[in-house]
């Protein structure tokens, strides 16, 4: 995610009028020092705790290492072994499935709920709060709660199904349903975020635009289609990138519900990395898989941003 082009209102980017003739050297040094005094500490922490470890992780990914005994260099072998590792392939497939259901799900739901919440009616503040509250709860707490709510025996969801005359389900304990159930739980926990983003964007649409469309004879659907949706594009770019990263890195929920089970059907890439590196102490192999995930994230993000630049909306 980069900010190559300064936003329209980047005041700091504007050249101050006096700078036309070069300022004295001392003042330039002072200005640089002031700037770095402000931006430096946070920048050093963020970069120091990510760029340095990320580079180191690359060297670790080319070794066989348990973190204690000396590492042995194995070149690209960790990477080539990934292609034949059924665990890694399953994890990749499941991560993909999770991402392609969670990301569009959270965006479509976010838009629909935000549109519904964007009214001046009674209790609207209450409704907004209700929908955002699950986002505040941790994924770990959500996972534990979900274990109870979706319990095959005494869960309230199965009680509701029985009440409606439908057969009870296994949910998190069924290899075919567990991943989908996780997506539903993740959506419940995360949709508050996209909803707030879209709500903010909706309130930003000039009412004259909507009124003009209505005067021109557009019905609610056409207003939504031709005025609202185009206006939401930049938010959608941001939300897509953000939620993709969220989906790719989803860990807490899996850890507190299925721990990758049943039969490894909810094992995702990040979960597998965790197991490799911190359960079975295969640091090199785990780092290689994590690196692969990094490259995929990078390519996906770049693709979304470039595609949207081409279509003329700049979210970053």
């Amino acid at each position: 995610m980069s900010v190559a082009t300064p936003p329209r209102f980047a005041v700091g980017g504007r050249r101050p009028p006096v700078a036309a003739n070069r300022p004295p050297r001392g003042r330039a040094v002072r200005r640089a020092l002031t700037g770095w005094a402000f931006a430096g500490p946070a920048t050093v922490i963020v970069l120091g705790l990510s760029v340095f470890p990320a580079v180191w992780a690359f060297f670790i990914s080319r070794t066989k290492w348990n973190g204690v005994a000396p590492a042995t260099d194995v070149g690209w072998r960790n990477y080539s072994r990934l292609a034949d590792d059924p665990g890694a392939l399953d994890a990749a497939r499941q991560t993909l499935l999770l991402t392609v259901t969670f990301v569009p799900g959270s965006i479509v739901l976010g838009i629909l709920i935000a549109v519904a919440l964007n009214r001046k009616i009674r209790f609207i503040a209450f409704y907004r709060t209700c929908i955002f509250v699950p986002y505040v709860a941790s994924a770990a707490a959500t996972g534990i709660l979900a274990g109870y709510v979706f319990s095959p025996q005494f869960g309230i969801v199965n009680a509701a199904l029985r009440h409606l005359g439908l057969p009870a389900q296994q949910f998190l304990e069924s290899p075919s349903q567990a991943l989908l159930t996780l997506v539903v739980i993740a959506l419940w926990g995360e949709v508050g975020f996209t909803t707030v983003l879209y709500l903010a964007a909706l309130q930003d649409i000039p009412s004259e635009l909507v009124e003009a469309a209505v005067v021109d004879g557009a019905g609610p659907w056409r207003v939504f289609r031709h005025v609202t949706l185009p206006h939401l594009r930049p938010v959608t770019v941001f939300a897509t990138v953000w939620q993709t990263i969220t989906a790719l890195q989803l860990f807490d929920l899996i850890y507190t519900t299925t721990r990758g089970g049943p039969l490894n059907t909810t094992q995702t890439v990040v979960y597998y990395v965790y197991e490799l590196a911190f359960q079975t102490r295969r640091l090199g192999y785990g780092a290689a898989l994590a690196y692969l995930l990094f490259v995929v994230t990078l390519l996906l993000t770049a693709a979304v941003i470039i595609y949207n630049r081409r279509r003329g909306s700049e979210a970053f």
């Binding site: 402000f38 955002f132 640091l283």
Partner: protein, 273 residues
């Protein structure tokens, strides 16, 4: 003084939706107040018979929940304060001050969002082990002192402020720091509140990193404690739900206090894009 609005059909959609989002949390609280026998009976019961604190009392006697709670409060307090100071300074620097390397540094900071945490954890763990801070609360704090998201949020907010006030301060002879503290920061209160909420959410709720960095169960945070509790023995839902309530309710209360500023800042900050 609120004027009466006519009944809107939107209520028919919003009411069930709101319930769907809140009922599981209500059930969490109610379940924590049930005796174990009622929790696992068939068909499930929603309302507890009377008030049972078995889950809580067992939790308090059999785990270090109080320690975990204060560990979490400590970690969150330090990270929130550090975020507010460091990210607002950096956000202002990137938004308003001109200095060499500014564009590159900001881009590098933003790009770090894409690095999977799992990739960073491996070398970070080794690094922390070598400097000897693994298994201390410091290990849980250091990676959260500042974040790319916080810097981005504050920068977007400062960019949206009109520059005239600062220009006036500079004309009056105030330096950059003076201008920042006495003119800019007071205007940034809504953005700071949002940053505080987001930081509180992510540090309070973090599970993965403390799970790896801390093994001594007296130094656990709430999330790690809960997860360990869940894994250790046969599921005792009463205790688990009580722990869940203790880990979740303080944040929800904090959010309810800060939420009014929330949507306003999201709009201002340009987070929307």
């Amino acid at each position: 003084m609120r004027r009466k609005l006519p009944f809107s059909p939107w209520h028919l959609l919003l009411m069930p939706l709101a319930l769907l989002f809140v009922l599981p949390l209500v059930q969490m609280v109610l379940t924590s107040l049930m005796p174990e026998a009622q929790i696992t009976q068939l068909p499930p019961d929603f309302i507890p018979h009377g008030l049972h604190l078995d889950g809580y009392s067992k939790l308090f006697s059999e785990s270090h929940i109080v320690r975990w709670f204060f560990n979490t409060v400590f970690v969150s307090a330090v990270t929130v304060v550090s975020h507010l100071v460091l990210c607002s300074l950096a956000g202002y620097g990137f938004a308003r001050l001109r200095f060499p390397g500014r564009g590159l540094a900001f881009m590098a900071v933003l790009a770090t969002v894409m690095i999977p945490i799992q990739l960073l954890m491996i070398p970070t763990y080794i690094m922390f082990a070598r400097i000897g801070i693994v298994d201390t609360l410091g290990a849980a704090i250091v990676p959260w002192l500042a974040s790319a998201f916080g810097i981005f949020l504050m920068r977007q907010f400062f960019l949206s402020l009109p520059v005239e006030l600062e220009e006036a301060a500079v004309l009056d002879g105030a330096g950059a720091l003076r201008t920042f503290v006495s003119v800019v920061l007071p205007l940034a209160r809504p953005a700071l509140a949002t940053l505080a909420v987001f930081t509180l959410l992510s540090s309070w709720n973090d599970l993965l990193w403390p799970l790896i960095a801390i093994t001594d169960d007296e130094k656990y945070t709430l999330q790690v404690g809960l997860a360990s509790f869940q894994g250790m023995r046969r599921t005792e839902w009463g205790q688990l739900m009580a722990g869940n309530v203790i880990a979740t309710v303080p944040l929800i209360v904090a959010f309810l206090f800060a939420q009014r500023r929330f949507i306003a800042t999201m709009t201002f900050s340009g987070l929307k894009g």
